[in-house]
Symmetry: C2
Subunit: 398 residues, 2 copies
DNA sequence: ACCGAAATGAGGTACGCACCTCAAAAATGC
DNA sequence: GCATTTTTGAGGTGCGTACCTCATTTCGGT
């Protein structure tokens, strides 16, 4: 792909715009309506003329079709460079008349995080529908890898061009993913990586680094100690929890030896268990000063703290800016949230799936999902990924 | 604009994909190459048939042209809804043969921030060139609002369809922006808002909130005090500095009364001045424990600290993740960086300009630039917006 | 110089939509 | 019921590219 480089003005350039007028300006045959002035971009026909070859040859070069001499290829490429030609992707895609049906496969849980993610994907899918991309959300029973595998195996025949999957990497799932890829379907891992499946891409954050980030915040917020810190983790995506814990410990041990980090409490996704465990624990550890909640169950946690009269008295760091986390942050019940932008994640998913389906390169910078730190003070004004969907149903009919 | 809503599976839906098969599946007249299966989306012709009207009428309705009875409009819209039609924007834009020449106007300084921003805009412009958008970078002498105004006044006749502007809001500039808008050119403020110009949009962060964020971090990192904190600010964009300071003070006074925040030191963009001032100040304030660097000049600051043997001994918080800030963060010379994602900012700029030029609505969530907190532990692995440009010149020819 | 093979040219159709013109039909007013 | 206006239909062209076919030219080897 040959890109058009807008001329760059030197840093010491004068503040004059004149010399930036595009050289390739052509007179439109007929004047258009409105006051817009048009700068015609070079097309494939211009390349053909410039290179002194036929349109067919230009096409062969542009689309890497065989049967063109090296010399001719070079001539065409030179013309392309000379004219500053950029393929018009909208026209190209139209001509290809490609459309993309993608699947996003998520566990069927009621966790606010998964629901927010589903909403973000749905929103992104709506926008993407205008560019010939269709995204279907599929759910699987979270504790049933075989059902998931069965679902995945049905995808290729249902006309899907790509799959985004959020699931723990069990052997069954691993094989299912491999089978998908063997059939030519790109698979991207969502939120939690599937490192041993050969997935085409991972869209999410580095959980080890996220754990480290939580660690520094906890350590510094506690002033380096002394004190004790509780760590809670659900096991929906066990690997992620392990990595977060590892990152957290790494920093705490190295930089904050004065703080004692207690063993992880596994709450297995149950709110009741969590409340029980936390209450019990806090009774036994009276000088606990912080809690690192690695997984779900924030609601249960804040409730437990509330009941113990500890709301706002501990440094609480959790993951994922769900609606509840937002509220707790605003209310001072929790201190910081480590999160990822689900809107970005969803849009990135579609971009990556599409790029993989077309075998195109990615813009690594754009697809990089960042580990965000949210405090009450930098809470984004509008819901990040909200559960109220109908706020933006704007009409474009002018 | 009518959007196509991908069917949403209920949260309790079974894990079956079968019923998601699109109803509008048509048999392609001739089988295509490859194993892809095509799900044809409804087109304007389908609407015409479904609504029992002609193509011309559908077109009139879709493009809000006059001369159609209410009743007919409704019939068409019903058909659209029934078919789940979504306008193919790529085809629409192609047919309109619209192209967009945009200008990004930046001060011609050597600050790493402005340079990174310029690079980010250039990169975004390259990608956007494939969708009929051209972005030209223009620079103006930073201390010369009249030159800027003159530059701006020349834009409409140079065929520009929109302007993104990073500049302090002086009266001259304010008038120039108003004049642009009067001539129908959308103007978006970049990085620093231009609230009294009627600009169409502001792309950047809330500096007050950014200051507050810096405040919490400083306060908590210092354990609530006691201690003294220096505040440095250059005056390139004076309003931004004032807002950051205001936010910072707000939090410090309210939440960390034990910490004394000293008066802002204005360094006027000069590295030498900054070093001098900081050195002097630190000599007089021996129990200074933190520095909040609101503006440019990080290089000079770290150098001064180095010379004083204070590297890594103070809590230093600054703005903008420039290459130097990144290095200083990695080296432990500074503690935290409040920043905005310049890649996002640049892409957002183009999206917003284009939406404004077409008078289309925005996706507020996507255009929201976030206040990011970067610590050594959540430093994005690859340069955010780097100064090395040629790393990503990927070839798409398969 | 001749052959087969490779390279190139010429021209067409299609993609989905915007936008135009002109004629025909339907609705409206009186 | 007539004239007038409004609404609708039919059909065409073009946007920039992909992809196809078939003829023609050029090349490489002998």
């Amino acid at each position: 792909m040959h890109l058009f480089f807008p001329r760059r003005e030197g840093l010491s350039g004068a503040a004059s715009a004149e010399f930036l007028i595009d050289v390739h300006q052509r007179q439109p045959d007929s004047p258009r309506k409105g006051s817009e002035s048009f700068v015609m971009r070079p097309t494939v026909n211009d390349i053909a003329r410039e290179a002194g070859v036929s349109l067919a040859t230009v096409d062969r070069v542009l689309n890497a079709r065989p049967g063109v001499r090296e010399k001719t290829i070079k001539a065409v490429n030179d013309a392309i460079a000379r004219l500053g030609y950029v393929r018009d992707l909208t026209a190209a895609n139209l001509a290809r008349s490609r459309s993309y049906r993608m699947a996003a496969v998520l566990p069927d849980t009621e966790s606010q995080f998964v629901q927010s993610l589903a909403q973000a994907l749905t929103d992104a899918g709506q926008v993407a529908a205008t560019t010939r991309i269709e995204l279907n959300l599929l759910r699987f029973p979270p504790e049933d890898p075989h059902a998931l595998a069965a679902l995945l195996s049905r995808l290729p025949d249902s006309g899907y061009a790509g799959v985004a999957l959020m699931a723990p990497e069990t052997p069954v799932v691993r094989d299912a993913v491999r089978a998908l890829r063997a059939r030519g379907l790109p698979v991207v891992a969502l939120v939690s990586d599937l490192p041993n499946t050969g997935r085409d891409h991972f869209i999410g954050i580095d959980n080890r680094a996220a754990g480290r980030t939580a660690g520094v915040l906890m350590g510094r917020f506690l002033g380096g100690g002394p004190g004790q810190v509780l760590v809670l983790g659900s096991s929906l995506l066990a690997r992620d929890m392990v990595e977060r814990r590892r990152g957290f410990d790494e920093v705490m041990l190295r930089d904050f030896p004065g703080i004692e980090v207690l063993q992880s409490l596994e709450t297995h996704g149950s709110g009741r268990t969590l409340r029980q465990v936390v209450t019990e624990m806090l009774a036994n550890v009276p000088d606990a000063r912080g809690i690192y909640a690695m997984g779900d169950g924030l609601r249960a946690l804040t409730q437990a703290l509330e009941e113990l009269g500890l709301s706002g008295k501990l440094t609480v760091i959790c993951h994922e800016l769900t609606p509840h986390a937002r509220k707790a942050l605003e209310g001072g019940e929790i201190t910081a949230v480590i999160t990822q932008n689900l809107g970005h994640l969803a849009r990135s998913t579609l971009r990556v799936l599409r790029a993989k389906a077309d075998n195109l390169p990615l813009d690594a910078g754009q697809e990089q999902i960042r580990i965000e730190i949210v405090l009450r003070e930098n809470l984004p004004p509008r819901p990040d990924v909200s559960l109220d969907s109908d706020t933006d149903t704007t009409e474009a009919a002018a």
